[in-house]
C-alpha cells in the first residue's frame, strides 16, 4: 500500500462526500467515513481539506484540524494509518467468547503471526478487534473485508484465510 496519497484524490473524495452529506456539523462523521472508505484509512492531509470545506459561521463553530483529528481518532471504524490489503475484524465479546471465540482468535494470531492491532510485514493482513457485530446467533464471528464468517472453529480458520490472495 503506497503511503503517498494524491492531494487531488483527497480533494475529489472530500468534494463528493460533501456533495452527498452537506457541509454542516452533522456531516463531519459521514464525511470522515467516506474518506476512510475511499482510502482504507484517513490520510493526515484529508483533515485540513475537510476543515477548509466545512464551516458554519452562524453557529460560531470553528472546526480546527485538531478537532477533526480528535473525532477521527475516536471511532473504531476509522484508521489513521494504512492497513493491510485484507482487514480481519474479530469480535471478542462475551457471546462469541462463550461459544469458543478464545480459541479462534488464538488460531488467527498463530496463522498470521501478528497480534490484534498489527499488520503483517507483507502488508497482506491487518487484524483488528471490534465490538459486537450483531450476528451473535452464529458466533464466533469475524469479518474479512466485507465477507462475514459465522460458526467459525479453529479448524476452519486456515481455509477461510486461504480464500484471499
Amino acid at each position: 500500500m503506497s503511503a503517498e496519497v494524491d492531494q487531488l484524490d483527497i480533494a475529489s473524495v472530500v468534494d463528493k462526500a460533501i456533495g452527498e452529506h452537506g457541509a454542516t456539523r452533522d456531516a463531519v462523521v459521514p464525511i470522515l467515513s467516506e474518506v476512510n472508505r475511499a482510502f482504507g484509512y484517513i490520510p493526515a492531509q484529508a483533515l485540513p481539506e475537510i476543515r477548509r470545506r466545512i464551516h458554519e459561521p452562524e453557529e460560531g463553530v470553528f472546526l480546527a484540524d485538531s478537532h477533526l483529528f480528535s473525532v477521527a481518532s475516536f471511532y473504531q471504524m476509522f484508521s489513521l494509518r494504512p492497513l493491510g490489503r485484507h482487514v480481519i475484524r474479530f469480535c471478542e465479546d462475551a457471546p462469541c467468547h462463550v461459544m469458543g471465540g478464545r480459541l479462534v482468535i488464538q488460531t488467527l494470531q498463530d496463522e498470521l503471526g501478528i497480534k490484534p492491532g498489527e499488520t503483517t510485514a507483507d502488508e497482506k493482513w491487518s487484524l483488528i478487534m471490534t465490538s459486537c457485530l450483531g450476528i451473535c446467533g452464529v458466533g464466533p464471528v469475524f469479518i474479512v473485508d466485507d465477507d462475514v464468517y459465522g460458526n467459525v472453529t479453529p479448524e476452519n480458520v486456515h481455509d477461510i484465510l486461504a480464500r484471499y490472495q
Binding site: D26, V29, E92, D93, G134, G137, G139, D147, V148
Partner: protein, 551 residues
C-alpha cells in the same frame, strides 16, 4: 394517499441467497432460472422474488427460502428450479428431498424458520411483518396495514391525543431503561425551544443484541412511520436515525424506505396532503459502543467525539443542537404504529399489568437454538430456554444467564423462574436490559466471563470521567490476576469497592453498569472465584491458573 397500483396480495416470497459464497456456487443462475420459470407458469403477479445476503457460513449454498412456509432449500442448482416452482409454488407442496439441513441456522433464517407454528406462545407485534413482507417494497408494507396508523393519527387525532394514547398504552422504552414513552414525548412538547427533534437510536451495540437490526432489515417502513407519528405528536419537523456503521444492510433498507416514502408523499412536505412536514436524516455511526448512550449519540451527530454529556439537562429539554429532543429506541418506536392502529386497550392484553406489551429477546450461547423471539412480558427464563432455546446444548446443565448484554445482570440457574418483566426483575435485583439472553452452561468459568466483560468496558470506555476510565482498567487487572491464580482475597473487596464507586459516580450508563456482572458474580458465585485465589483451581477448567508446584 398517493395513487399506487396495489395489485393483489403476494402469495409466495422466494429468497435466493446472494452472499459471496453463494455467488461462487451459481446463485445468479438459480435466480435467473427462477425468473424464467415463474414467468412461464404465469405466477409473476403472485410471487415476489428477491435475494438474501446474510445466511451465515454454510456448506449448502446457494439457499432458496420460500415463505410463508419458511422452507429452506439448499444447495439448489439451476436444474432443481423447475421442480421447486412446479411443486412448491404451483401445488403448494414442500419438496423435502431438497430441504437444507438446518443444524446451524443463521439468525435471520433461524427465527423466520421458527415462525410456522413450532413456537407456540410467540406473540408478534414488533416483528409482525419482518420476514413476511419484502422489506424493500412500500407496496408490501401498505398491503399489510402499513401507514394505517399515520393516516389515523393525521386525519382523526390531535397531536395531544396521539401522546395520550401512547401514554395510556403503558409503552416503556425498550432500549434498557424502561422509561414511559408517552411521558418522554410530553416533556418535549412542553419544553421551550424550536425546532424540536426526533432521534431514533439504532446504535445497537450491546453485545449479543441484534433485535433492532432485524426490525430495521425486516420492516424498515415501520420505523419511518413511527418516527413520523412521533414527529406529528411532539411538533418536530426534522429527525435523525442514528444507525451504527456495522449495519450496512439495515442502512440500505432504511435509505430505500425513506426514498420510497418521500416519493409517495408519506414523508417530506405536506404528508397525506396535510399541512405537516417531516424529514428524516439517515446518519451512520463509525464504531463506538458509547454512542448508544443518548447524549453521546447526540454529540456524535453534532460531529464530535461520542462522549456523554453531563445531565441534567436531559435531551427532552436540551438535546440535539441544544433543542428539545425525543430519543427513542428502534423497538420502542416499532410498538407505536400498532398502538395507534389498534388502541391502547388492545395493547394492554399483552404482558403484565405493570409491563405492558411484548419484548424481543435474542437467545444466545449454549442452547440448541439461537435466534430472536418476541414474547409477552413476564415469561420466565426456564420457559425461554426450554421452549425457544430447545434446551441446553449437549444436555449440559444451566449455570447462569446474562440478561441484557455486557452491562446486564448475571442470573444464576436458581433464579430462572423469576418472571421477566421490568417490575419483577427490579425486585430481584436484576435488569432486563436490551433483551440479550446469554445462556451459559456449567463449562463456563465466571472469572473468565468477568474478564471478557471487563475487557470490553475497558476498551469501550470513552475516557471522559475518571471513575470509569480508571475503574474499568483496575478491575480488569485484578480479574486477570485472579484468573492466573495470583489473586488475593483482599482483591475481592477492592473489586467490590471499585464497582460501587463506578456505579455511584460515573457520568453515564457505561461506567454505572460496567461492574454489574462482576458484582453479581461475587454475589452468586463467590466460592468459585475464591477457588481461583485460595486453591489455585479453576473449577470449570478454563482459566490459566498457575499450577501448584508439588511441595
Amino acid at each position: 394517499m398517493a395513487e399506487t397500483n396495489f395489485r393483489k396480495a403476494i402469495r409466495w416470497m422466494v429468497l435466493v441467497s446472494n452472499d459471496q459464497a453463494s455467488l461462487e456456487h451459481g446463485a445468479e443462475d438459480v435466480f435467473r432460472k427462477f425468473q424464467e420459470e415463474i414467468e412461464a407458469c404465469g405466477l409473476s403477479e403472485e410471487v415476489s422474488l428477491t435475494t438474501i445476503s446474510d445466511v451465515g457460513s454454510r456448506e449448502d449454498l446457494p439457499l432458496v427460502i420460500v415463505y410463508p412456509d419458511a422452507a429452506v432449500y439448499g444447495p439448489v442448482i439451476p436444474e432443481d428450479v423447475h421442480l421447486l416452482v412446479e411443486e412448491h409454488l404451483v401445488k403448494g407442496k414442500i419438496v423435502s428431498r431438497l430441504l437444507a439441513m438446518m443444524h446451524e441456522p443463521s439468525p435471520d433464517v433461524a427465527w423466520l424458520h421458527s415462525r410456522q407454528g413450532s413456537l407456540p406462545a410467540q406473540k408478534r407485534i414488533v416483528l409482525e411483518r419482518a420476514g413476511m413482507i419484502d422489506p424493500e417494497s412500500l407496496e408490501d408494507y401498505v398491503l399489510n396495514d402499513g401507514y394505517l396508523a399515520l393516516g389515523k393519527a393525521l386525519t382523526q387525532m390531535k397531536p395531544a391525543e396521539v401522546i395520550a394514547e401512547v401514554d395510556k398504552s403503558g409503552l416503556q422504552g425498550r432500549g434498557g431503561a424502561g422509561f414511559p414513552t408517552g411521558r418522554k414525548w410530553s416533556f418535549v412538547v412542553s419544553a421551550p425551544g424550536d425546532p424540536k427533534y426526533i432521534i431514533c437510536n439504532a446504535d445497537e451495540s450491546e453485545p449479543g443484541t441484534f433485535k433492532d437490526r432485524l426490525i430495521l432489515e425486516g420492516d424498515p417502513f415501520s420505523i419511518i412511520e413511527a418516527m413520523t407519528i412521533a414527529g406529528y405528536a411532539v411538533g418536530a419537523r426534522e429527525s435523525y436515525i442514528y444507525i451504527r456503521g456495522e449495519y450496512p444492510l439495515a442502512y440500505q433498507r432504511l435509505e430505500n424506505a425513506i426514498q420510497q416514502a418521500e416519493a409517495h408523499g408519506l414523508l417530506g412536505d405536506h404528508i397525506f396532503g396535510r399541512n405537516f412536514n417531516f424529514h428524516i436524516h439517515l446518519h451512520a455511526g463509525a464504531g463506538a459502543y458509547i454512542c448508544g448512550e443518548e447524549t453521546a449519540l447526540i454529540e456524535s451527530i453534532e460531529g464530535k467525539r461520542g462522549m456523554p454529556r453531563a445531565r441534567p439537562p436531559y435531551p427532552p429539554t436540551f438535546g440535539l443542537f441544544g433543542k428539545p429532543t425525543v430519543v427513542n429506541n428502534v423497538e420502542t418506536l416499532a410498538n407505536v404504529p400498532p398502538i395507534i392502529r389498534n388502541g391502547a386497550d388492545w395493547y394492554h392484553q399483552f404482558g403484565s399489568p405493570k409491563s405492558v406489551g411484548t419484548k424481543v429477546y435474542t437467545i444466545l450461547g449454549n442452547v440448541n437454538f439461537t435466534g430472536l423471539i418476541e414474547v409477552p412480558m413476564g415469561i420466565t427464563l426456564r420457559e425461554i430456554i426450554d421452549i425457544y432455546g430447545k434446551g441446553m446444548k449437549n444436555g449440559a446443565k444451566l449455570k447462569l444467564v446474562q440478561t441484557g448484554g455486557s452491562s446486564g445482570s448475571i442470573v444464576p440457574a436458581s433464579m430462572q423462574d423469576t418472571p421477566m418483566d421490568f417490575e419483577s426483575f427490579r425486585r430481584a435485583g436484576a435488569s432486563l436490559g436490551s433483551g440479550a439472553l446469554l445462556v451459559c452452561d456449567e463449562h463456563t468459568c465466571v472469572v473468565d466471563l468477568a474478564k471478557v466483560l471487563m475487557q470490553f468496558f475497558r476498551f469501550e470506555s470513552c475516557g471522559k470521567c475518571t471513575p470509569c476510565r480508571i475503574g474499568t482498567q483496575r478491575s480488569y487487572e485484578i480479574i486477570c490476576r485472579i484468573s492466573e491464580g495470583k489473586g488475593l482475597l483482599s482483591d475481592l473487596d477492592m473489586l467490590q469497592r471499585l464497582g460501587e464507586y463506578m456505579t455511584e459516580v460515573s457520568n453515564c450508563g457505561l461506567g454505572q453498569t460496567a461492574s454489574t456482572a462482576t458484582r453479581d458474580i461475587l454475589k452468586h458465585f463467590r466460592e468459585e472465584v475464591e477457588a481461583h485465589i485460595v486453591a489455585h483451581i479453576c473449577p470449570a477448567g478454563v482459566c490459566p491458573v498457575a499450577e501448584l508446584s508439588p511441595a
